[in-house]
């Protein structure tokens, strides 16, 4: 890749590989899961080789997603802790939504929206996993009573709806904020990008930049 010399690393190779495994599994889960949610979307099961295949594959994608999310959680939980900056940033949400960035208070590596996506998924993915196990007919069909399974399937569909809405917001934000897709595909952002969108993070990097150029000094 042609990476400008002055670029900042936003996501490491491990970050990116983990993220895209996560994204791939999530999309497979959405497509197969929606196919048995509403009849007008049943055709999506054809992408997986038919209804039986979609039914058989869906829970395994889910197992994969949970494992992948554990990796995401370990790598990203620290940068997603809410702090005081989030209050000021959240109050300026109208300015954020209208690209009026001059009136948006400076924020660190992640803004409140990104943190909300992270914590929503951290809540929803385990919920989907546990309720999904309860309704995994092949292995756990007899493990719990039918009334328990009824509640599980309702929670599973509500949690899935929540996760899909969060995901739509996440994808749109990536399209809306130009060059953030590149940060997750190639790993870097320009200093101007960091300055514009995450000013506190920019200063953090700028002051650490000189020290980092010599790895022996700063292992």
């Amino acid at each position: 890749m042609t990476r400008p010399k002055r670029a900042f690393t936003r996501y490491t190779t491990l970050n990116r590989v983990n993220h895209w495994i996560n994204a791939g599994l999530f999309i497979l889960l959405v497509l197969s899961g929606l196919s048995f949610f509403h009849p007008i979307l049943f055709f999506l099961s054809g992408l997986f080789g038919g209804g039986q295949w979609a039914r058989a594959a869906h829970p395994w994608f889910g197992v994969g997603l949970v494992i992948s999310w554990i990796g995401m959680f370990i790598q990203f939980w620290r940068t997603n802790l809410f702090n005081r900056d989030d209050i000021a940033w959240s109050k300026a949400i109208v300015q954020v939504a209208t690209n009026d960035d001059e009136h948006v208070p400076p924020i660190g590596r992640n803004n409140s929206g990104q943190k909300a996506v992270f914590w929503a998924m951290t809540l929803l993915i385990p919920t989907l996993f546990v309720t999904g196990l309860l309704i995994w007919e092949v292995y756990f069909g007899q493990a719990t009573s039918i009334p328990v399974q009824r509640v599980a399937v309702l929670i599973h569909s509500l949690a899935a709806l929540g996760a899909i809405l969060v995901w739509v917001a996440h994808v749109y934000a990536a399209i809306w904020i130009r060059d953030s897709v590149r940060s997750m595909t190639q790993g870097y952002v320009t200093p101007g990008w960091a300055w514009h969108h995450h000013r506190k993070w920019f200063y953090q990097l700028a002051s650490g930049q000189r020290a980092k150029t010599d790895p022996r000094k700063n292992p």
């Binding site: 002055r6 196919s35 048995f36 949610f37 509403h38 009849p39 007008i40 979307l41 049943f42 099961s45 038919g50 209804g51 039986q52 979609a54 039914r55 058989a56 939504a97 209208t98 690209n99 960035d101 309704i135 007919e137 092949v138 069909g141 039918i146 009334p147 399974q149 009824r150 509640v151 399937v153 309702l154 569909s157 509500l158 709806l161 899909i164 809405l165 739509v168 917001a169 994808v171 749109y172 399209i175 809306w176 904020i177 130009r178 060059d179 320009t190 200093p191 101007g192 990008w193 960091a194 300055w195 514009h196 969108h197 920019f202 200063y203 700028a206 002051s207 930049q209 000189r210």
Partner: protein
């Protein structure tokens, strides 16, 4: 049955359009099981296996007359035995033939996500069309009577068909044919209700004052009905539900949530699109890069001269 042209569907699972129903001028049918005339011989169980070519695995004696102990993918009907001590201290042996009740408002069909995997014919029979079944087990959650069973071999749901293949050609179900005491009757639902009325009158005259017909209105009636001596307490008969109804949890999941969720997701995507064409993308300008360079130089100088 799915190989035959059936144009008498009144309900079809996971279908938003009207199913083919031109040939639905049919009588509603019903099977009437008069438990007061049942002797527990299990001829119905054998006949069901014989007609439907079902051979459940041979199990073990579990200390009960029930054999096997539960319905299964190849056990579509099962005699259930309950020893009940009544108020007078007398033993009553309550025997009930369990199996699909063929609800007028079938919970299995409501829950099923596979188009056409569960259908209801105009005569009221609820049938599983197995080649369309995806094996998810949602019918199990939808059923108020705990009837469908999923095969571990082929991952398909199975249950009593009310011998829809026989009924289509004017025959009675195999269990009805085999019953030696006339405890299982089959005909139009009107005739069966009428006949049940006579039986109930007779039972009442013999001291069973709570005798009655089990045709639960919560599922808009069933196409398998029971004459019970204790119709006030159906649960005496090995857990026959007193008030069977499709669970409100299933109703919420398969009712309001389904369209709302699809509309909600579509609305979210559209909101994003229109944000894009109105507010538009948030792009980094050359000035931002210049500002960033200036800021970096400042930081560098500060660090050089502390």
């Amino acid at each position: 049955m799915s190989d035959l042209q059936s144009q008498d569907y009144v309900r079809r699972s996971a279908t938003t359009m009207t199913p083919p129903m031109a040939r639905s001028h049919e009588d509603q049918v019903a099977k009437l099981i008069d438990v007061s005339r049942c002797i527990g011989c299990k001829a119905c169980q054998s006949a069901c296996m014989e007609w439907n070519d079902l051979r459940p695995e041979i199990g073990h004696f579990e200390g009960s007359y029930e054999n096997p102990m539960d319905l299964g993918p190849s056990v579509w009907t099962l005699m259930k035995f309950n020893e009940y001590e009544n108020e007078q201290g007398n033993l009553e042996w309550l025997i009930r033939k369990d199996g699909c009740m063929h609800c007028e408002d079938p919970g299995c069909l409501k829950a099923c996500p596979a188009p056409g995997a569960i259908v209801q014919y105009a005569n009221g029979i609820v049938d599983f069309i197995s080649d369309k079944c995806i094996g998810c087990g949602y019918c199990v959650k939808g059923c108020p009577f705990d009837i469908p069973r999923i095969s571990k071999t082929d991952h398909k749901a199975y249950k009593c068909t009310l011998c829809s293949d026989r009924v289509t050609v004017g025959l009675e179900p195999a269990c009805v044919k085999a019953c030696p005491t006339g405890a299982i009757m089959f005909g139009s639902k009107t005739d069966m209700t009428h006949w049940a009325g006579e039986r109930i009158e007779d039972l009442k005259s013999r001291g069973f004052e709570n005798a009655g017909l089990y045709d639960p209105p919560e599922v808009q009636g069933t196409h398998v009905m029971y004459v019970l001596h204790h119709a006030d307490r159906p649960s005496l008969y090995s857990g026959l539900p007193d008030e069977p109804r499709i669970s409100p949890v299933v109703q919420a999941w398969k009712g309001i949530l389904k369209p709302l969720a699809v509309i909600g997701i579509a609305a979210a995507a559209l909101a994003g699109f229109f944000h894009w064409v109105t507010v538009g993308p948030n792009e980094v300008q050359d000035e931002d890069e210049a500002e960033a360079d200036r800021a970096m130089r400042e930081v560098e100088e500060e660090e050089k001269s502390p």
